[in-house]
Symmetry: C2
Subunit: 265 residues, 2 copies
């Protein structure tokens, strides 16, 4: 399966180039072991920081060479030309805590907005060799088991839903109460998966992700993947989620509505 | 690197056969998608239950053919000959919630006890193609990046430690208070990794795992891996952990002592 067979978006093939460029910088630095006590060494040589910065530099170089008129917003090096029609939104290592803990549930995120709306997105996990892509109309996957189209699962019922969030400790005060109402209503809450959780919604393995405090680069790439797989991503007010903040993603619109009602009740 | 080069234990090569037999049953059932709402279909066809039972049957058949005098204790099919000198302790899918959520942090566990003490262990993650093995004296790994010896990292300081547990919701009452004292003392707590967390201790990527309510088959296989990598596994009383229950695993004996003191303070 070639991406050009999957998507009408003229920039879709470029996602694979971005993923490959990032992987060359991140993968060799994943699971480098370093004694915690060697603080002097850590100061000048922190693998995840180097991975993050090098991967974003590599992706920016590719974008600037191929699409010099496009804008870029990245976690590490900020904004350039973000008033352009097309803006690439980059998080070279989403899930840095997973990365430094050796867990293969971090990912490289690259999304493309057009006039502010996310229209194309990629999550790449180079250790497992997985790519999750979407253009809002379709979503697709390549990995160890081959290529397939991504489709969320039908589940409108909170009491049978699996919910993921990075960690419940991120919710404070009224947000914690709102999140708690949803967590108590679902069958199974799970923590700790970062971007991988959204891709599991797109793949139909889980139903719901609820988070807070997201930056645009944490979510833009994931929106076209979930939407392309048949799901929905909004903020807690039910509005577009490209700006980040408080985000809810669901595989089924009925579940999204039910969870949103609980968040705001 | 061949296992027979790594370990003096005469049963060590057999670990790879067990892992391969289990993988044939688990991997094809991982990430099978099924609409949650199709309850009738789920009733007769629950992928993780079938994976669990089929993998344990496959491992039991291998053990009974090769070592008919050995005992077996498994999650799915209970105990046979557990008064034998050697007893195999099996959890075909440790981390069923990760399995059904599509996350590649579940694993197949196979451990061997001799006179009640864990002397050999395997954690296999077939989606990532990883094997973590140990015999109490040494520990080793094979995976996408090749083979290597496993070694825990030196870190005696809780304030710079990474701590993992399946979910803090498993601790109740006084146990929750005890766990909370340690969680507040560490730099980074993370949730949700099951057996994979222990292997990250053995690999030197994290420092500490604290859990409660474990069965013997949740922990026996992991003890020789962590001990072989230079770490320590006990219950919260500081005694051998083969019986499960409340378990603490650390990469550094000083950290183990510090965390144990907090748990019991």
């Amino acid at each position: 399966m070639r991406i050009s067979d999957m998507s009408d978006n003229p920039h879709a093939d470029f996602l694979v180039e971005l993923a490959a460029a990032a992987a060359r910088e991140t993968l060799p630095r994943f699971r480098q072991t370093l004694d915690i006590e060697d603080k002097q060494l850590r100061g000048v040589f922190d693998p995840v920081t180097i991975a993050d910065r090098s991967a974003e530099e590599a992706m920016r170089a590719l974008i600037n060479a191929r699409y010099p008129e496009h804008g870029i917003l990245g976690e590490e090096f900020g904004a350039e030309r973000t008033d352009a029609e097309h803006v690439w939104v980059l998080d070279p290592v989403d899930g840095t805590r997973a990365f430094i803990s050796g867990l293969p549930v971090w990912g490289t995120l690259a999304g493309l907005t057009r006039n502010g709306r996310a229209v194309l997105g990629l999550m790449a996990q180079p250790f497992t060799g997985e790519l999750f892509c979407g253009d809002g109309a379709r979503a697709w996957y390549t990995g160890p088991g081959g290529a397939r189209v991504l489709k969320t699962r039908a589940n409108g019922d909170l009491s049978s839903a699996t919910l993921m969030t990075t960690t419940p400790a991120l919710f404070k005060g009224a947000e914690a109460e709102a999140y708690g109402r949803v967590e108590r209503a679902v069958r199974m809450p799970r923590y700790g998966a970062d971007c991988y959780a959204y891709c599991m919604v797109a793949s139909g393995h889980i139903d719901l992700v609820i988070e807070t405090g997201l930056a645009p680069y944490d979510i833009v790439a994931l929106i076209p993947i979930i939407e392309g797989a048949g799901g929905i991503v909004t903020n807690w007010e039910g509005e577009p989620a490209e700006a980040g903040g408080r985000v809810i993603a669901a595989g089924d619109r009925r579940l999204h509505a039910a969870a949103l009602a609980l968040l705001n009740s």
